[in-house]
C-alpha cells in the first residue's frame, strides 16, 4: 500500500494504492496536514487503485474533511468502485463528501 502525491493545477492529488486501513491511515493524515501547513487548500483523494477501506480509514477522511474546511479549503473524493461506494452509503458518509466517478471530473469541479 502506498500514497502517490502529485500536484495538478493547484490541486494536491493523492492516489491511494492498496488499502486505506488502520495500518497506514496516519501516513495519509500526515501527508495532507503537511500540505495544508505548506499552504495548499485544494485536495483530491483518488481511490481508483484502492482495494478496501476500514473504519479507521473512513475516520481519517472525516477528520481531514473537517480540518480542510476549517482552513477554508476543499476536499473531494474520486474513483470509488462499487464496493467502496457501498461503504460510504452504509455509513451515510456519501452525504458528507463531494464524490465523483473520476479524478478528471473532480479536478474540473474545483
Amino acid at each position: 500500500m502506498a500514497f502517490n502525491v502529485k500536484k495538478a493545477g493547484g490541486v494536491v492529488v493523492i492516489e491511494v494504492e492498496g488499502q486505506l486501513i488502520v495500518g497506514n491511515r496516519q501516513e495519509l493524515k500526515q501527508r495532507v496536514l503537511d500540505a495544508l501547513e505548506a499552504g495548499d487548500r485544494k485536495f483530491l483523494i483518488d481511490f481508483t487503485r484502492t482495494g478496501y477501506i476500514d473504519s479507521s480509514g473512513l475516520g481519517v477522511l472525516v477528520s481531514l474533511s473537517k480540518k480542510i474546511r476549517d482552513e477554508g479549503g476543499d476536499l473531494r473524493l474520486a474513483g470509488l468502485n462499487e464496493d467502496l461506494k457501498t461503504l460510504f452509503e452504509l455509513t451515510k458518509l456519501d452525504t458528507l463528501f463531494a464524490i465523483t466517478d473520476s479524478a478528471q471530473e473532480a479536478l474540473s469541479a474545483f
Binding site: 478496501y52 464496493d83 455509513t91 451515510k92
Partner: protein, 153 residues
Amino acid sequence: MSFPLHAHLARCERAEGGLDVELRLRLPSDVGVVEEAVELVARHLEAAFVDRRTIRFNLRVALAEAIGNAILYGNTEDETKGVAVRVLFGRNTVEMEVTDEGCGFDYRYLPDPTLPANRMRPYGRGLFLIRQLVDEVRFNDAGNSICMILRRA
C-alpha cells in the same frame, strides 16, 4: 514491511455445518500486520468459498475491523499481548473468531454512527460496519472475543 505470519491449517474431523477446514493465526499487537493477516486468510478462502465478492469485500473489511479493534482497543497496542484469529470455513460458510487479551467492552450499547449528530465523528464505525457486512455477529461474555459468520448459498 513484511511480517513472518504463518497460518496453521487443519482439516476438521467433525464437519459441522459444512465447516471443514480450520485456520489459526497468532498476531502481535501491531497495526502494521493487519493487512498481511487479512490477505493471508482471504487467499486461503478465495479458492474454497462459493462467493468471491464476499471474500474480496465483506470478509476483508470485517476481518480488518475486528483485528484492528483487537489491537487498538482490546490490547491497547501492548506488545506483550497478542491477538488470536481462528477461521473455520467450507464452501458455503465462514466463521471468523478474533480474540484479544484485553478486558472486553460492552458491545450492546454503541451509538449509531449514521445519525446526523454522529456522522462527523472520526470514530465509532467499526462494529457498525462489521454488523452490516456479515450475516451474524456473536461475542463472548467478557466482550474480548468476536465471532463473525458469513453464509452464502
